[in-house]
């Protein structure tokens, strides 16, 4: 705050303070050197102003010690900044183990969000305070970008792949949600609110909201509706139990981890990666499933067990 005027957005997430500290440090460096340069120039301009056209200043060739000094000082500063910034980034990049996963689909020009319990929202995201939330995001059309200034988080939402970000709110309240990647005519209207609530309020809100099936249950329905079981339950295709995050051996001998991107690709482009020991008979579901439905199927597969925890325990 500066004369009652905000200079930074509210610090409403666990990472906000750390980022602000780095920001203040950089601002201090910036102001310090700008002041040094401006004042020096100003001083020189006055002190050594031209007094007559016949002035003949003494010529100075340069100074190696000075050159070294003003190469090394910036070097040290940027190394410090790099180390600080990068370690902060690495620490922030890692979501806590028990993060609640919320799914986000961006499309021109709205945000569709779905809670694991099945509650859907548009351009509004309700979350409980003090709990880590992980967003898994994709886009139906162009690149969007999910940005919550108060949480200091931002990530592009890219068609054709999953990106993710996580946060843990520290303060109840209402915060802006922006699309930060230009996405067409109504880009500036692709905004929303993040509403951070006390956990019990959040539970009340969840139970009071019109609920559809949970993500996984909707996925299970799709699994039935598209009769996936004919193959994937009968040995003609790979089974889904404990599939998520496991290592899958492919026909060509390579191995992939069965993450969201792999699962999505296998639904839309089944022939891209053929699992070893199975024929390439699966048809594509491209055009039949929306991004949201794909996410539901993935949630269903995840609910059938995951090797992620096992791996972490090992």
């Amino acid at each position: 705050m500066w004369f009652g005027f905000p200079l930074r957005p509210e610090q409403a997430s666990t990472i906000a303070e750390g980022i602000d500290n780095l920001y203040y440090f950089l601002t201090a460096i910036d102001l310090f050197f700008t002041a040094v340069i401006f004042l020096t120039i100003f001083y020189f301009m006055v002190r050594y102003r031209r007094r007559s056209q016949q002035d003949t200043p003494e010529q100075i060739e340069g100074s190696l010690p000075l050159e070294i000094l003003w190469s090394v000082v910036p070097l040290v500063l940027v190394v410090v900044t790099f180390v600080w910034s990068t370690s902060l980034f690495i620490r922030n990049a890692r979501p806590p183990e028990a993060a609640t996963e919320i799914f986000v689909v961006g499309k021109q020009w709205m945000w569709q969000l779905q809670h694991p319990e099945g509650v859907r929202e548009i351009n509004e995201l309700h979350v409980p305070v003090g709990r880590p939330i992980k967003l898994t995001m994709t886009s139906e059309d162009v690149i969007h970008d999910f940005f919550i200034p108060a949480f200091r988080v931002k990530k592009d939402v890219v068609p054709g792949k999953y990106t993710s970000l996580w946060f843990q709110a520290t303060k109840t309240g209402q915060y802006h949600l922006f699309c930060a990647q230009y996405c067409g005519v109504s880009h500036a209207l692709m905004r929303g609110e993040v509403i951070v609530m006390e956990p019990q309020d959040y539970e009340r809100w969840l139970s009071g909201s019109k609920k559809t099936n949970s993500m996984a249950a909707s996925g299970a329905q799709l699994y039935d509706q598209y009769a996936c079981i004919t193959c994937h339950g009968a040995g003609k295709g790979p089974a889904f139990n404990d599939l998520y995050m496991s290592k899958v051996r492919l026909q060509d001998g390579s191995t992939v981890t069965a993450d969201e991107t792999y699962l999505r690709e296998s639904i839309l482009f089944p022939s891209a990666k053929i699992v070893e020991g199975y024929p390439a008979i699966m048809p594509t579901y491209k055009g039949q499933l929306t991004e949201e439905q794909i996410l539901q199927l993935i949630a269903y597969i995840k609910s059938l067990g995951t090797t992620e925890r096992k791996a972490a325990q090992e």
Partner: protein
């Protein structure tokens, strides 16, 4: 300096040596630009080949490796005749110069002709032209389609360079017939030579990347 030198010398230069060095440096810089131009395509190609390895192999397998090899030899021969044309220009042998230039053009046209009639046309008929008519019954159709996007873009841009080269050479041949080149002034021939060899070098990389990667299936 004799009269003839001064006529060949542009006003901004001090002497012919300077003029020739400037032209040569300019040409090499232009080729550096061309390397980066094709380089962008090669980069994109590499990225997608990594993503769609089986698709690229499948796509490559559909190309006619014999025609590719034949065209490689045709183009290499044209490089030889071009090198000999430059040599003839250096020695002031006008008849040889004209002959080799014409040969180079003919070989260049043969290359483009083979490409157009036996390859592109064939691939179009076989429904292998992405964006116009692509229909491939293969589990790797998506990767193969991307392969063909790059195949047509790369060979298309390359062929465009060849056509420009042939056009330039047609002008040079005309000038050579008129006796505009002497052992003191054969710069344009040499520059055209550098360009032509460069186009050859690009093909030397296109041939394995497009035709050979899928040949062993």
């Amino acid at each position: 300096m004799s009269e003839g030198h001064i006529i060949a010398l542009a006003h901004q230069f001090e002497d012919l040596e300077q003029q020739r060095e400037a032209a040569s440096l300019g040409m090499w810089l232009f080729l550096a630009t061309e390397i980066m131009f094709f380089g962008g395509l090669f980069t994109a190609y590499t990225v997608y080949r990594m993503m769609y390895l089986p698709g690229f192999d499948a796509g490559s397998h559909l190309l006619n490796i014999k025609l590719g090899a034949l065209n490689t030899i045709v183009l290499l021969s044209s490089s030889l005749t071009m090198a000999l044309a430059v040599r003839a220009a250096m020695l002031g042998k006008r008849r040889h110069l004209v002959t080799f230039l014409v040969l180079t053009m003919l070989l260049g046209l043969a290359f483009v002709g083979v490409k157009l009639t036996f390859e592109w046309h064939h691939e179009y008929v076989e429904h292998l032209a992405p964006g116009l008519d692509f229909d491939l019954n293969s589990p790797h159709a998506k990767g193969a389609e991307l392969f063909f996007v790059f195949y047509f873009t790369m060979t298309g841009v390359h062929a465009l360079h060849m056509i420009i080269g042939v056009a330039v050479m047609a002008v040079l041949t005309w000038q050579a017939i008129q006796g505009r080149f002497t052992p003191e002034r054969y710069n344009p021939i040499e520059m055209a030579g550098l360009y032509w060899h460069f186009v050859d070098v690009v093909w030397i990389f296109l041939f394995p990347l497009l035709y050979l990667i899928g040949a062993h299936h």
